[in-house]
């Protein structure tokens, strides 16, 4: 059948909901750009989903809603919490990456769930999408007890239409499953600076997946041409060169489809042993961070700081911010400053939020001067929610998803623009026309914002107090205000009344 390699569960979903492109990622942790460099596959903390629908779809929102619910089941995630209040339609930041050039953003839906926690129950369905599952090939390494003992974990599924061959006569689906994990040598190494497949995954590789046409392990050895920095064993004669994120890198390649890779022991356990201190990480050219300024529960200010670390080139970036409606943005306070001067964005698209219906969407094209820090600030007011709208843990705070910074960053070395079929890992998703720059997407950290929260622990007291105030206070004051007062004669005492009764019978004048 057609589903020999492509997972049927996803294929059916794609055709049922007329999906043209689907990108979904689950991330636990935050990619530390300043320590780890530019991410290969960027993703925001939590879950991110963006989908392009075919332009034949009439009810995009309906399809989107159903799709998120189905995906929620497939990936065992809370994607069903995606609704209109956290879905946006970015006009420029997310372009289709596959075939075709439809750019009508009415057919695009983008949503993030910054609170989503990723764990084994999300990894298992992800592994099941692989042709060999986790039974053979590289996937045997993916044991959750080790994978989740890391500093960063991100798994993603990207589906897009591509050409089947060079001449592009027929279309095919491309499914990329990526897993991005950062292990912390410091905590797991017990002082020793070495790592091996076994140490990281408590498994070694023994075979390739029989269904795979290519199964390779790449080890970046760019900084180690003479072997003075670290020692890699077993040694491999295969080397591969590629330009990745504007930098020419060299890789040792271990091809699992060749028997000699596994050597005598019939297993491959890569071992890297450092000899000295590792060199300094190259400063990433583009870096962004975000925080909430101010204190108190009424207003605040969102600061987004974008760094251009290129020594002499300026380049434009697209900043996309999607802010939930309960932070009411004061868009007139939006300022963009670079090098303490006003920086006027060349393109601004702002869609204001509607309370309880849709979030704010702000997209801006900002030119970053070379070697500069650009600060985007906007003030907001915290809304008072209805009491049913609070989460079960309201004092934890409310999340605001990461902002997305997309840019074509000037490259240090020329990129090869011809699409290399045999190295899918290093070919960027985004076909770049220019040779001198490469595409980068950077996510900032999500924000945790406290909203004014009533004290839910004492509804009883509140009810009692309110009832008392209404009953006693309001009631009697209303009474006092509306009643008319008259002074009436005090009634005579009983003795006098008796006396008067007798006097009336006797016919003598009554007592006063």
């Amino acid at each position: 059948s057609h589903y020999r390699l492509f997972p049927k569960s996803l294929g059916q979903v794609l055709s049922k909901f007329s999906v043209r492109e689907l990108h979904i990622s689950f991330t636990q942790g935050f990619w530390r750009t300043m320590q780890w460099g530019q991410p290969f596959i960027p993703s925001p903390p939590g879950a991110e989903l963006w989908v392009w629908f075919h332009d034949t779809v009439s009810d995009v929102d309906g399809n989107w809603k159903e799709l998120t619910n189905v995906l929620s089941g497939i990936f065992c995630a809370s994607l069903n919490f995606i609704d209109l209040t956290n879905t946006v339609q970015p006009s420029a930041s997310f372009k289709p990456l596959g075939l075709g050039n439809a750019t009508d953003h009415r057919f695009l839906r983008y949503a993030t769930l910054p609170r989503e926690i990723v764990c084994t129950e999300n990894l298992t369905p992800w592994k099941k999408l692989l042709p060999c599952g986790s039974k053979a090939g590289l996937a045997v390494l993916l044991k959750s007890e080790k994978l989740f003992h890391s500093s960063f974990h991100s798994q993603a599924v990207h589906i897009r239409p591509v050409c089947q061959d060079e001449r592009c006569t027929s279309k095919a689906w491309e499914l990329r499953q990526t897993l991005n994990v950062v292990f912390d040598l410091y905590t797991s190494g017990q002082g020793k600076k070495e790592w091996s497949l076994f140490k990281m995954f408590s498994r070694t590789l023994t075979e390739a997946c029989p269904l795979a046409s290519s199964s390779k392990v790449y080890v970046d050895i760019t900084d180690n041409p003479e072997g003075e920095l670290f020692e890699l064993s077993p040694a491999t004669p295969l080397l591969s060169q590629a330009v990745v994120l504007g930098d020419r890198r060299t890789y040792s390649v271990f091809d699992l489809s060749r028997a000699e890779t596994f050597g005598q022991l019939r297993s491959l356990n890569l071992l890297l042993r450092w000899k000295g201190d590792s060199g300094d990480m190259l400063r990433p050219l583009l870096h962004a961070e975000r925080y909430v300024a101010g204190f108190g529960l009424q207003t605040g200010e969102i600061h987004t700081v974008i760094y251009n670390n290129h020594p002499y080139r300026a380049f434009p970036v697209l900043l996309m911010d999607s802010v939930p409606w309960y932070l009411q943005l004061y868009i007139h306070t939006l300022t963009v400053t670079s090098k303490s001067r006003d920086n006027k964005p060349s393109y601004i698209q702002y869609q204001p939020a509607k309370d309880r219906h849709r979030p704010h969407l702000l997209e801006m094209l900002i030119q970053l001067p070379p070697h500069s820090m650009t600060e985007v600030t906007v003030q907001f007011e915290r809304a008072l929610l209805k009491w049913t709208e609070y989460t079960p843990d309201p004092n934890h705070g409310f999340y605001v998803g990461s902002s997305v910074v997309s840019a074509l960053v000037p490259s240090m070395v020329a990129m090869s623009t011809n699409f290399t079929q045999d190295q899918p890992l290093f070919s960027s998703f985004v076909p770049v026309k220019e040779e001198s720059s490469y595409f980068v997407r950077v996510y900032t950290e999500p924000l945790l914002v406290n909203l004014p929260t009533p004290d839910f622990s004492m509804p009883y007291n509140v009810i009692c107090l309110t009832c008392t105030v209404v009953a006693v206070g309001y009631g009697s004051f209303y009474n006092l205000l509306t009643r008319t007062f008259q002074v009436d004669e005090p009634s005579p005492p009983l003795s006098k009344r008796l006396a008067n009764l007798i006097r009336r019978m006797r016919g003598v004048p009554l007592l006063a």
């Binding site: 942790g29 410091y186 705070g397 914002v449 622990s457 009697s476 004051f477 007062f485």
Partner: protein, 615 residues
Amino acid sequence: MGLLSDPNRRKALTGLLTRLNTPICVVCFLAAVVWFMGLAFEPFTLRSYMSENAMGSTMVEERFSSGERALALAKEFGAHKRKAGGMPVDWLVKAMRSRGLEVFTQSFSRKLPFPDENKERYMVRGTNVYGILRAPRAPRTEALVITAPCSPGDSNNQAVALLLALAQYFRNQVYWAKDIIFLVNEHDLIGTQAWLEGYHHTNITGMEYSPLQGRAGSIQAALSLELSSDVITSLDLVLEGLNGQLPNLDLANLFYAFCQKLGVLCTIQGKLQRNDWDTAEGYTHAAQTMMLMVLKQACGRSWGDHGLFLRYHIEAASIRGINSFRHYKTDITTIGRLLEGMVRKLNNLLERLHQSYFFYLLPSLSRFVSIGYYMPAFGLLAVILLLRALDLWVHLGAPALTAVDGVTEAEQPSSPGVLTVLTPLVISHLTGVALYLLPVHLQEMAVEHFPVSETEAVVLTAIAIYTAGLALPHNTQRLLSGEGTEQGWKVLKLTALLYLAVLLGCTALINFSLGFILAITLVPITASITPHMPKALSAVVMVLLSPAFTILYCVFIYQELIEAPVSIGEGWMLFLSVISQGILDHALYGSLVYPLLALFIYPCWLMFWNILFWN
């Protein structure tokens, strides 16, 4: 309310209230004092308990063991501190970086409005060093802060060293869910203030600082550590923060729970807990502890580095190591374990600390008095003001009432004009504004003309204006509206009484201790003052119960309570320094006690002073 709509019963009620006004007021006052003193009596207080589920039963084992290393580090740090003549920034940066933290520095500078003679500083320049331990698989949304001040001399070396040792130990653990910020701040509170303002990108006190480079989301809780010796006998918990704000009671409970678990002696206000509540000594001890807390809270200053965090809705407390002559000693490893346990518990928090009380008094660490128990003491005092106001209101309305009855219609005294109330009100408030503004602004002139230092100039100007204010209103009164009428002072007193009641009520809601102390000194004299009393005697009594003298008494009582009694002369010097500190706290950290006293309480008191000299 049927009571009020029936004119006869209304009349009876007001009659009763006016007839028995003075006895009721006296009873209320005595009841307030008794109630307040009763708060420290153990059977009347509640046993403290942990409200937050996430910090409940302890299932973790504290494993911190590098106390010896911390002590060696302390020596190294001390040596570098001496060499650098201040904060050894480079050494600290290197030390933190080698422990696997992301390290950042922040430089700041602040020119004080006038020299601080207690700490001998005027132009303050410093650097904060902080390292962030990033929690694995956490998205930088929440953080905890551990701070240790880098103090001059040899003090606090152990705190900084323990901080570094803890950082190293924490870095190797995998269970962190929140980033942990290790902050070493210079110039104690000024450094903390600069760091907090930088972190939240605010500027409320005119501090100059370089922007922070690294952040870790919203800070959930903070612990400040002060430790100056290798072994300690007890740990003191300091809770009182800026403007009398207190951290959530659960933080105190957490500290107490770990002290119990690890067998560390713990104190609050430097006082150990006693178990003999039923003896006179036991009660006195608890009362003293509570009185100390009330005095400290009332003065509105931050009693440790933690106090400034509270403004930012960050629950914080200071832990201070005390080394006295007791035999029972605790080593630094145990303190490290205590902190480890506390930080791990805070790390478990799912929500900000909010379950327990924010308003409380502590007669001991294991007992607390909640707001519901202490507020009646203040309420009894406030009700005196209202009763007196009611009394005056009835008296003012009485001629009108008799006119309706048709008995006397003859001499209806012309109701006092607005001016009679407005004039003293405006004059006393202008005096208040002068008291607030002039001391700091006139210091240069004062230094030129008198042989005093800037600090003395500020304090003495304040006292001079305060004293001059006594002479001002009752002289101008006669000039403006001629002979004061009987009605006039009653209206003025009614206004002043209601004004004072509102002022004290608002103050007590925010800072109970301050409101209560002001009420207990101001209420008796303001409630009873009339122009017909013997002038000289009442004037003396009034001055003796004025806000300035209240501060003086508080200084003496405080010294008595911390078992360091002072002579009159020393007390006077302390009083002067308290005033200068109050003004400095306002300028540096935004403490509100000085403006409250200068702009509201003192003018209000002057209005009563005006009544005494009403002619």
